[in-house]
């Protein structure tokens, strides 16, 4: 019994050490640098086993009755308000950066391009998911039309909205310009589209009007809404906090395939 009691006391002591130790561990830069290596492993592994794999597509009957709008739902930025109030009449989507022939597309141009329609599942990093139908031109042919230069390695999506973050996610929250970036594998993936329509109707403001990205093999935060400019770059380090996206700058993985 003595032994058990002593062990019991040791257990309580160890529990206390564990709690304070965990706090230190969670904040340790070294530990976090080691932990972050898992993202590389996941990225490399998923590119190895499913580089060109398609995300599952669903039937019309599978669509969520209510597709949850998340993130910014009504941008207050002046430039965006102007476009929304004027029906995006003088809005232009710029495709530039490391391309031979920068493009400038009106909303009408975007709607007239050959489009792909897909019914896919949207997985939010928070854990919820929804199925919706999206229509828009594929990004790959647009980049080809613009003459993507061989030095380009990533595609960056510049958005119209400034986002203040989400308390529900916990962790560091701060305001910043929304943006995202993907590699060329996803950029030329057939299901990567610049969606201008949802369920057969033009996108609502809550869902990213006039256009949002669909990056179907990654989590919801990669699917940038209110896209104003698509820029081909060799590195995304010079934008905002340098991690390649709004949520990436706040600790989330750049490769959000998991």
């Amino acid at each position: 019994m003595t032994l058990l009691t002593r062990r019991g006391l040791l257990g309580v002591g160890a529990g206390g050490l564990l709690v304070s130790g965990c706090g230190k561990l969670a904040q340790s830069h070294t530990a976090n640098d080691v932990i972050a290596q898992a993202e590389r492993a996941t990225y490399g592994w998923q590119r190895l086993i499913g580089r060109h794999a398609l995300a599952q597509e669903f039937a019309a009957a599978d669509v969520s009755p209510v597709f949850k709008a998340n993130g910014t739902k009504d941008p207050q930025d002046d430039a965006y308000r102007h476009h929304a109030d004027t029906g995006f009449a003088d809005w232009r989507l710029r495709i530039d950066g490391l391309v031979a022939r920068p493009l400038s597309l009106s909303l009408a141009d975007l709607h007239h391009l050959p489009a792909r329609t897909q019914i896919t599942r949207h997985d939010c990093v928070e854990g919820w998911s929804a199925i919706g139908q999206w229509t828009g031109p594929q990004l790959g042919p647009l980049l080809k039309a613009a003459g993507l230069l061989p030095t380009a390695r990533y595609i960056v999506f510049h958005c119209a909205d400034t986002y203040g973050g989400e308390v529900g996610k916990g962790g560091a929250q701060s305001s910043g310009k929304y943006y995202e970036s993907i590699d060329l594998v996803d950029a030329f993936h057939p299901q990567t589209i610049v969606a201008h329509s949802m369920a057969g109707k033009p996108l609502t403001v809550a869902h990213g009007a006039p256009c949002r990205m669909r990056i179907e093999r990654q989590l919801g935060y990669k699917h940038a809404k209110y896209v104003m400019r698509i820029e081909a770059v060799d590195s995304f380090g010079r934008f905002e906090l340098g991690k390649g996206g709004y949520w990436e700058d706040r600790g989330y993985e750049w490769y959000a395939g998991i």
């Binding site: 976090n32 949850k68 990093v125």
Partner: protein, 290 residues
């Protein structure tokens, strides 16, 4: 579950005199076991933190705020009958008040807050989806690598076939009943009788190794849109959809915790010093036969 893990395969080896120390757990099993302890501790604690970002579970292909008909579990806070805030947990039609623990609990900084699982149960000790995810996936990689190595080694050395998988003759109802009675009376095997797993242990370990943990890993992978695409639709459809897979991931975590509780209880009841020594050094004392 009288003892921790499988004994050495003693076929063909002269029987060791009872009451002597013998090498019970091989190094591979011992390292794998403690890696599992480390991984599962982090996986559960980070998993609860991740769950707290959306403390609700659904059945089917999808599930979000508006899908009330698909939601079978939710943890939240509400105004109580006397005006204060209460924590509530709903499982199907069952609604339980869980104030102080689930839904409405004390944050690490001492303040009461609305949160699914409390800070003390999660890693990190505050709501932080980004950090929790990074730690979760790091240990998930180690856990999967460790599990695959164990399965490969276990099949190759026949450890799994001979020492974990139930033997046909053990399945006789009379034998199962005898083991149930022995467990109920806490009469643990001694001597040579303690050099192999009895049927309830084999059910527990084989069920965990071959069913529970693979289901937990696969349902977890089903939540990855990238892995789902690579798997060509097999995942998450194996579980009836992504929302179902998330539910099953949560349920298998609960079952794994239940396994650990029983496992540790049995270790304590069967003699924690001897049991722990055998999983650290390999040496196990079978005790003198009754």
């Amino acid at each position: 579950m009288a003892s921790l893990a499988a004994p050495l395969d003693t076929t063909g080896v002269p029987p060791v005199r009872s009451g002597q120390l013998y090498r019970r757990h091989r190094l591979f099993v011992r390292i794998g076991h403690w890696l599992n302890v480390l991984c599962l501790a982090f996986l559960v604690a980070t998993g609860l933190n991740i769950f707290d970002a959306h403390p609700a579970l659904y059945w089917g292909q999808y599930g979000a705020d508006a899908d009330d008909d698909r939601r079978w579990l939710e943890i939240g806070a509400a105004t109580g009958p006397y005006g204060g805030t209460i924590g509530t947990t709903r499982i199907g039609p069952l609604r339980i008040v869980t104030t102080g623990v689930l839904g409405w609990n004390r944050a690490a900084n001492g303040r009461l807050q609305q949160q699914g699982f409390p800070d003390w149960a999660t890693f990190p000790h505050n709501r932080d989806l980004a950090s929790a995810r990074r730690w979760h996936f790091f240990f998930a990689w180690i856990f999967i690598a460790n599990g695959l190595a164990y399965l490969a080694w276990g099949f190759a050395t026949r450890h799994l076939q001979d020492e974990v998988w139930p033997r046909l003759r053990q399945l006789a109802p009379a034998n199962i009943w005898r083991d149930v009675v022995a467990h109920a009376r806490l009469r643990f095997p001694r001597g040579d009788d303690d050099k192999h797993y009895h049927i309830l242990q084999r059910f527990a370990y084989a069920g965990t190794v071959f069913v529970l943990l693979p289901t937990m890993v696969l349902s977890g992978l089903s939540m990855s849109p990238g892995f789902d695409a690579a798997a060509g639709g097999v995942l998450p459809q194996l579980f009836g959809g992504r929302a179902s897979a998330r539910s099953i991931h949560f349920i298998t975590m609960d079952l794994t915790l239940a396994f650990i509780v029983v496992h540790v209880a049995m270790v304590i009841l069967a003699g924690p010093f001897n049991q722990l020594r055998s999983m650290i050094t390999g040496w196990y004392d079978t005790g003198r036969p009754r």
